[in-house]
Symmetry: C2
Subunit: 256 residues, 2 copies
């Protein structure tokens, strides 16, 4: 059923006060009715975590003039679940957009990112979903160059829909000189951790997680390549994690 | 380089005192040198979360006679990262096993599960990795019927290796009458949430996340089917989330 004005759910993982979600709200307001449900505190790196050991809070807040906005005590994925069930009450929005993330979510980061996991959850709910991220993790990030692409990609998804059980992972290099859009695959890479060991005042050790991004992929069809060359990268993402090509291999094993 | 006694990293998400990890430790000790790194508290539903906003603790603990055991304040994925970097110091273990989870991690649960995400992280690190889960979420779960399969599957992985960038998701029905092993794909399903709304003593609402598993897949090649029919299910899992089949579709879109 086509409606003139689509309903758009906006979520993120940097929290409801992040400049990135404000930029996304203002852009989405140009094309639809916007409902914002975002964490009450930063939730970067929360992946697909959900809150099951303690209860959740969901509060309507007057934070941005003219926007219907809710603050949630849970994870980004919790935000999507609460929105679908308590705010939309099963009447699904036409689009779910997540971000704009302060920092890239290309390559393997799709797994660690709360922003991308919220978009994945939107897709699991059957809502066409997009995660947006910019290569600048600071609060001073400048999203302005990205916004025409943010809008254009959302309009295309609203017009065309997405293949079943897929969503989009959109990343922007941090430049005003964007070369256009590349459809990509997720680059093979990992984080090589280096834990920063310190001693607390009681002389007990504690560790800060830090890491170096380790690319193991020279392909020119990857999101890393596209971003390095000034393009907006779009990776279609799926949440079927089955390694279908490995089924035949395992069927060849002889179990006792 | 083949060694006589493989080194096996054991992790979980139910925490270091869970009966499931004890059963896994005892079984793995029959085939290798075991190192245990597990969360100091239950971390179910943590997905692929990592801890970046606060530091981590890692403590050697004397909890189980004869086992090298560490307790970690972070998520299951943190446990793997800490183990690889601080305990193994880059000298990778020969196998990473996660579980045995109290409760199934079949189908879409692979995304939400800390147990499976720890195994995914092991695979990202290049370690042959397996997640094990039993269909009984109680602390009284009886793992005994599963153990000969747990051992057999680990031995096969040590002997054969796994296809590049894949790992195994192994689930057990809660029965002594196991019919054997089925290699499966992840069933299409989702959780239909029902938030249980309550009022706190100050009359403010809060919500408990509950849900009903909604199967949308009648295939007889899925993990749900195998478990329903008394089989041990093995799904090969990959962490490339690219929807490769959707790339051509998106390349057909005309962007302005």
């Amino acid at each position: 059923m086509k409606k003139n004005k689509p309903t758009i759910l906006i979520v993120n993982d940097d929290g409801i006060t992040a400049p990135g979600i404000k930029a996304l709200m203002e852009t989405m307001a140009e094309i639809g009715r916007v409902v914002v449900v975002a964490p009450d505190s930063p939730q970067s790196g929360m992946g697909h975590a959900i809150t099951i050991g303690k209860p959740l809070r969901l509060d309507k807040v007057e934070l941005y003039d003219g926007f219907e906005t809710y603050s949630c005590s849970g994870t980004p994925v919790d935000c999507v679940k609460l929105a679908v069930n308590l705010i939309f009450k099963g009447q699904k929005p036409d689009l779910c957009v997540s971000g704009i993330n302060h920092g890239l979510n290309n390559s393997i980061n799709v797994l660690y990112s709360g922003t991308m996991s919220a978009a994945v959850e939107g897709a699991i709910e059957g809502i066409p979903s997009i995660g947006y991220s910019l290569d600048d993790f600071t609060l001073q990030a400048n999203f302005s160059h990205a916004l025409k692409y943010v809008k254009e990609i959302a309009l295309q998804v609203l017009a065309n829909g997405l293949p079943t059980a897929t969503l989009l992972n959109v990343n922007f290099p941090n430049t005003a000189d964007l070369k256009g859009i590349k459809i990509c695959r997720q680059a093979r890479a990992k984080w090589a951790e280096e834990f920063d060991e310190r001693l607390d005042p009681h002389k007990r050790p504690y560790y800060w997680l830090t890491g170096v991004f380790q690319l193991d992929d020279q392909g020119e069809d990857t999101d890393v390549w596209a971003l390095d060359h000034g393009y907006v990268s779009i990776v279609p993402v799926q949440f079927d994690m089955t390694a279908h090509h490995a089924i035949a291999v395992l069927n060849g094993w002889k179990f006792n």
